[in-house]
Symmetry: C2
Subunit: 235 residues, 2 copies
Amino acid sequence: MPSRHIPIVLCRNCALYNTALILGLESQEKKPLDQVVIRNHPIEKGQPLFHAGDPVRHLYLVHSGSCISYQGNQSRQVRGFHLPGEVVGIEDLGEKRHSHTACALEDGSLCQLDLSRLEKALDQEDLIKVQRYLLHAAARHARQLQQERLLTGLPNAEQRIAAFLYNLGQRFQEHGFPALSYRLPMSREEIASYLGLAPETVIRMLKRLASRELVRVRTRQVEILDPEALEALLS
Amino acid sequence: MPSRHIPIVLCRNCALYNTALILGLESQEKKPLDQVVIRNHPIEKGQPLFHAGDPVRHLYLVHSGSCISYQGNQSRQVRGFHLPGEVVGIEDLGEKRHSHTACALEDGSLCQLDLSRLEKALDQEDLIKVQRYLLHAAARHARQLQQERLLTGLPNAEQRIAAFLYNLGQRFQEHGFPALSYRLPMSREEIASYLGLAPETVIRMLKRLASRELVRVRTRQVEILDPEALEALLS
DNA sequence: CGAGATGTTGACGACCCTCAAGTGCAGTGG
DNA sequence: CCACTGCACTTGAGGGTCGTCAACATCTCG
């Protein structure tokens, strides 16, 4: 049994389920998708989903827990985080091999979609639906990355941290979790690497935002007290 | 007649032409695409392609010249640059309205693809091909944005500028232009906004890289003298 | 409960932003 | 053709911000 307070996406909030990909196809019961999707597969903290250079075979959806992705094969350079309900690996569609390494940040579970089996299992009409969904998901991912690029490029550390906390909240909210109260799945050092800051700076800026009563941070638990003021910092 | 030394993508290097989207469909001559694609449409410096909030109707491809995109409707915050051969607007596919504003950085020309007409003009089989192409293009765009996010988050200004120059060279090369000798289409101030730096810092770092003989910069003309050393800076 | 990892704090210096003045370049009109 | 003018670019000085290093506190998990 999962412990309390761990975010789990309901299947109806799942980015895969919530679309033609699973819902639309299953309701018609044309083909069994069990050979294409492995549901709710458990994964342990630190376990890799794939390494940079591995062949691109699957698309993953975070069901509970969360994932981190590293540039290349080194764990030094943090590329991004994947929260419950978000897709991992969509930017590698169309490539032979993965460009990055993804690992679980904590114990959790994933849905795993077999890409080559998917294409074989579908008739033309459903393939169009699935492709349209994937296209929109990839475009959505690109917009999210744009936001992250702007965030990373903000002129000072305080703004970057404020934007980071705000952005995480928005992403949690998109999949049905509270935007103003959540638990950070990653360490201070991982936040620092992600934002291009020193870990000490991350800590100091969290403290500064807390001293202004914009947020409350107790180790990994985050409460956003004044979201308007936090957003106003980013102008 | 275009002046000398202005990058123009040949149609065979064009990101649209080079795929099923144009090449595959035209060779079969199933349908005339003239109602779907406006080719080589001239555009003047500063002219907008679309504003944030405009309905998403077209996809653009830069044929000659280059484009800039701004966050929202303000020209303060630079979101990205689009070089010849690159696609503009793909991250808004699936959305009703554009999330950003795109303008021409210099006189040039575009190909313009009408999205709703495209879908109507294609039979199912070709639609699958086109969708697959667009999906891969969107995924490719996401990988590019990942690179840019890492670049923007580098710990010091010298590395960001080095990465920026190197990245631009790589992108020119992808569409058949020299990687080590090109003309910057954007101002120092636009580079600064894009990288989250002050314009003066951009200038000073360009000068520092030049003093080490890694690059030569004369206003907007860039020569990369030592690409290995430049890349080594980014470790 | 103990040990190692993670998080926190303080001092100091390098880096980069701000402000202000000066230079070069492109387009315009005489 | 040349001076003029506006804008982008460049340069310098000074101060705030953030990275580095080292010591300490706290948390987590066996």
